[in-house]
Symmetry: C2
Subunit: 208 residues, 2 copies
Amino acid sequence: MTGITVLLVDDHLVVRSGLRALLGTQPDLDVVAEAASGEEALELVEQLAPAVVVMDLAMGAGMDGIDAIRQLRQRNSRQAILVFTTYDSDADIVRAVDAGAMGYLLKDATPDEIFAAIRGAVQGKSVMSAPVASRLFQQLRNPDEILTPREAELLSLLTEGLSNRELGQRLFISEATVKTHLAHIYAKLGVETRAAAIATAIRREGMR
Amino acid sequence: MTGITVLLVDDHLVVRSGLRALLGTQPDLDVVAEAASGEEALELVEQLAPAVVVMDLAMGAGMDGIDAIRQLRQRNSRQAILVFTTYDSDADIVRAVDAGAMGYLLKDATPDEIFAAIRGAVQGKSVMSAPVASRLFQQLRNPDEILTPREAELLSLLTEGLSNRELGQRLFISEATVKTHLAHIYAKLGVETRAAAIATAIRREGMR
DNA sequence: AGCAGCATCAGCCAAAAGACTGAGAGACCA
DNA sequence: TGGTCTCTCAGTCTTTTGGCTGATGCTGCT
């Protein structure tokens, strides 16, 4: 009678109980354990070998979700890993998929979406929330929006609040060059001011 | 037999079910309804007049938690309002308390803390998570660095990348006033440019 | 060899942001 | 009543940013 065994990983107790309550309504889904940290998750996977791991990315202290996914993959465990998180940051999506996540759900997903994602994951299907999918799709369609390494470097410093002059000094380039790079960055990010660039960089790209 | 009636407000279904499951273990706490938005919350409060409203601050679209709290206070309803959110941003704390919140809990609070906060709130006690309290405490020691509610509101919008003009339009004040507020904010944050202010706001204040 | 992309730089101009001073209205408190 | 705080606004001046055009050297690919 054993259905699909599920391990929940989230540092927030309310989220874990919420998921447990939701999944409890489905006869074929069995939450076999909960973990509040990446470390705990690794242990429990080893002990219980659940079919699916539902994992938050942001985990208070210690190992974060991405690291945990990587570790699981390295131990070539065969769990299907589903990311279940609040933010649809481009960088997080790419990193999670790269680390080996099977699906990517947002916390405002409907119960049906969550159930479907879990059932799909054990069958090797990749499921993601609509906003997440559309972000990935958009990235594939617009390669123009990919920052060059130098631009990314500049953007990273930009999020620390440096002025053009300081950026130039830090990177050993003239202020004119800084401006050129910034203009390109703004165009690629679809913004018009440095403030907006910083805001989108931190939110969308997950920089900090 | 009626216990303390509670309304849950959070745009994430899992969080609502989690809270409902947790509160369900306490015989004296009755979750009478759930709302997924600020608008919905206002309606349900009017209809059901719950003793306590447990409210998330970040709510996808539309009215955010702070606005909802303000509206509730204006309709001089006597609900105790508890903020239940993920981030312990200084600015959010100030604004929420200013708007009329009785307590401020973080989502990684233990069940006992949550229960105690709800029971305390109906008796007029103000309860907050330890990290939140320590932030407020630290602020009291450096009164020069405390942002006024208006400044906090402005800073919050600032982190979205708005220009001075846009800030003025959004807050219905002149650009001159925006500049004055910004000058004060910069002084309090110890920065000199808006970019740096955004950077520190996001890193130090946990805004996003 | 030729072309495309990247990184570098200059100069010009308009717009935005920031520093500084001063000031009035309302709230709150001693 | 007087003092303090907060929020509001104005004007001036300097600095910074951003938009635009154009240009050079390097690399890698075809």
